[in-house]
């Protein structure tokens, strides 16, 4: 039983990261009906920018760990948001009225471009965040040893997700985003600047992805230029699992995927971990094609 709960916490920690990345996929899909395959690489960029800023500014020595992490997170999120906006402007906007396939190909191209650019700029080697900058203590909850950092990691992702949820649901800009997601043409007629909404979506999604990259870098330490591919794939799966285009769905899907993986690894086979996760995805898509929280939308004729 203890092993079960240990695996559950393992799964939730990984799932929190998946969920945070999945939000980027789901937001872009919700508004533009486009899978931004370069999203995983924006996550990688977040991890690399975090390391660069951390090392070059020497923040941890100057202002202490907690303010340093917060400041770092803000800087990384802003920078990745700018890159996301540029990506939209260069790779997607010119193709907005082309067939959807063109945009998908453009997304794949952007992904390959980012990966190779990171490799060319930073070297293909694994880079490592400085060791022991964060506390390594573990607390004991009901007989389980849980590292403090993992709890902070999980709570931070949860916080970011909730902030996004309320931003979308309760603010005027959030309403505009939702309107554009339902019907871009009608939203335009209502006086919403759809171009600006899309630009905003391409700032928020990447910013969250970049924050996830920074968190992975800080917690796991090791980063490399191709790390975004695997995380991107998993987060994409999580988004579909929860119902793509649906923000609470991305959160639920991410956490669920992490837990399924951990339990699958524990009780079936480690080598089959990914296969199990994808099998669950297929099963859910057969039973509920729109994903767990997705709603069936009537097709316009």
């Amino acid at each position: 039983m203890e092993e079960f709960f240990q695996q559950l916490t393992n799964g939730l920690a990984v799932g929190g990261i998946y969920a945070l990345i999945a939000l980027g996929y789901t937001m872009v899909y919700g508004v533009m009906k486009l899978i931004n395959f370069a999203h995983g690489d924006l996550f990688t960029i977040g991890a690399y920018l975090g390391l660069t800023l951390l090392v070059s500014l020497g923040l941890f020595d100057k202002i202490g760990p907690l303010p340093a992490v917060i400041l770092l997170a803000v800087m990384v999120m802003i920078l990745v948001a700018i890159i996301g906006a540029i990506l939209e402007r260069v790779a997607y906007k010119p193709l907005r009225h082309s067939p959807r396939l063109s945009a998908v190909v453009s997304a794949l191209g952007a992904s390959i471009f980012f990966q190779n650019a990171i490799m060319a700029i930073y070297s293909p080697k694994f880079l490592v965040y400085p060791h022991d900058i964060l506390p390594k203590a573990a607390i004991n909850i009901l007989g389980l040893d849980i590292p403090v950092m993992r709890i902070i990691l999980f709570l931070t992702s949860l916080l970011l997700m909730l902030a996004l949820y309320f931003f979308i649901q309760k603010t005027k800009i959030g309403t505009a985003i939702r309107a554009a997601a339902i019907d871009q043409g009608a939203a335009k007629l209502m006086g919403i600047n759809v171009d600006r909404v899309i630009m905003l979506v391409f700032c928020i999604g990447p910013a969250l992805g970049g924050a996830a990259g920074l968190m992975v870098g800080l917690y796991y330490g090791q980063i490399n230029f191709s790390m975004g591919w695997m995380y991107g794939l998993k987060a994409f799966t999580a988004a579909i699992l929860g119902g793509i285009g649906n923000i609470p769905g991305a959160m639920v899907g991410g956490l669920l995927l992490g837990v399924i993986e951990a339990l699958g690894a524990a009780y079936i086979s480690i080598a089959w971990k990914d296969a199990i996760a994808f099998c669950v995805l297929i099963l859910i898509l057969i039973v509920r094609p729109t994903g767990l929280l997705g709603e069936r939308v009537a097709e316009k004729v």
């Binding site: 070297s123 293909p124 694994f126 796991y220 490399n224 790390m227 524990a266 480690i270």
Partner: protein
């Protein structure tokens, strides 16, 4: 009109001069297939730097029998599909021999392509057994085989007094092969295999696997995969507060392992490997290490890249001594006449299958400062 004629005449002259020029300066072209991109890119970059350095030295010393050496490089991306493309491209570039590559599955994808084109292939880091069991006459390798490593692993684990052993691999043809080999040898010796499974390479979080491993309560964990995963395992194992000793295969021989795990987590980690570059004690090796440092400012990372240097050296030796460039002739020379050639990693001879003969494996332990210490 006159001007046009003049230009045309000039161009023709230039063209003739060019073709004549290249005919005069005869070159020997040697291919290098290595992972310049992909997850093993750092190994590939080292391989490229080493082979280019050695080729520059050869050319400075007057080339091979007076011919200059030219290295033709193709990137295999550490990926079997891309390797097949890279190999096909290389076969069209007038090379008689090729060096490479690092991973076994990647080498396997290229073997038949070279064999059909009559090109001599000297692999550098591909240790899977079956690569040389196919009896391809033009295939050689400067690295040892997994069965030898499996034997050394079983011997080492026995000598250290462990009886309940967990084996973890990563499903690549190399890691799986080594894990199977070690498992059957250990079972023959009456040891208990408490755990046998594979992880997915390229992930960051291995806590789920470590939790499962821990509940199997082994005396020791034998991990046969690559260094990025080994580093993460060590680090997360320490953070879990689990103190089981860990032994790794030769693919964990890379200084980046310590960088990833951190000195504290890597302390006490053991691995099997051919000697690391710093422990190479032949005069050739010392001269090479100095030259490398002078040119690139650092020491070469792992021995696998240095084995690419050895592959280059045996190819050059074969071309120089046999005065031939056809793949078959070079292979015949390597198989029958090259005996105890002093390479960078020690004496090199090949057996009938193209495998390097001789005992190459050592046991290393990481010390508290993160250095690889050769165990007696």
């Amino acid at each position: 009109m006159k001007k046009k004629l003049f230009t045309l005449g000039f161009l023709t002259l230039a063209l003739v001069a060019l073709t004549l020029g290249s005919a005069w300066a005869k070159t020997v072209r040697i291919g290098l297939m290595c992972p310049l991109t992909g997850s093993w890119a750092s190994e590939g970059q080292d391989m490229k730097q080493i082979v280019e350095l050695l080729a520059a030295e050869t050319n400075k010393a007057g080339g091979i029998n007076g011919d200059q050496v030219e290295i033709v490089i193709e990137d295999d991306g550490g990926d079997p599909r891309q390797a097949a493309l890279a190999a096909t491209r290389l076969t069209t570039k007038e090379i008689s021999s090729v060096i490479g590559t690092y991973g076994s599955s990647v080498t396997e994808a290229s073997q038949n392509i070279y064999a059909e084109s009559g090109i001599l292939q000297v692999a550098t880091g591909s240790t899977a057994i079956r690569l040389s069991e196919k009896n391809l006459p033009l295939f050689f390798r400067t690295c040892p085989r997994d069965d030898e490593q499996g034997m050394v692993a079983a011997k080492t684990l026995g000598a250290l007094g462990y009886s309940k052993i967990a084996i973890l691999h990563d499903n690549t043809s190399y890691a799986k092969g080594l894990a199977d080999e070690a498992k059957s040898l250990l079972e023959k010796e009456g040891k208990t295999i408490a755990f046998f499974d594979a992880l997915t390479p390229g992930e960051r979080d291995y806590n789920a696997i470590l939790t499962k491993l821990k509940s199997a309560a082994p005396d020791v964990v034998f991990f046969t995969g690559y260094y990025p995963e080994a580093g993460m395992l060590l680090r997360q194992k320490m953070e879990m507060g689990w103190n089981v000793p860990m032994l790794g295969g030769d693919a964990t021989n890379n200084p980046d392992l310590v960088k990833i795990a951190g000195n504290k987590a890597a302390d006490g980690y053991m691995f099997l490997s051919p000697p690391v570059p710093a422990d190479l004690d032949t005069p050739e090796a010392k001269a090479f290490m100095e030259a490398y440092k002078a040119k690139y400012g650092t020491a070469p990372g792992s021995v696998w890249a240095v084995l690419a240097g050895d592959a280059y050296r045996v190819i050059v030796e074969a071309i120089a001594k046999s005065k031939e460039t056809s793949g078959e002739k070079l292979a015949a020379y390597l198989r029958t006449q090259l005996k105890d050639f002093s390479g960078l990693t020690g004496k090199i001879s090949f057996n009938d299958k193209g495998d390097r003969v001789g005992d190459l494996y050592r046991v290393y332990k990481v010390d508290a400062a993160g250095a690889f210490v050769l165990q007696p």
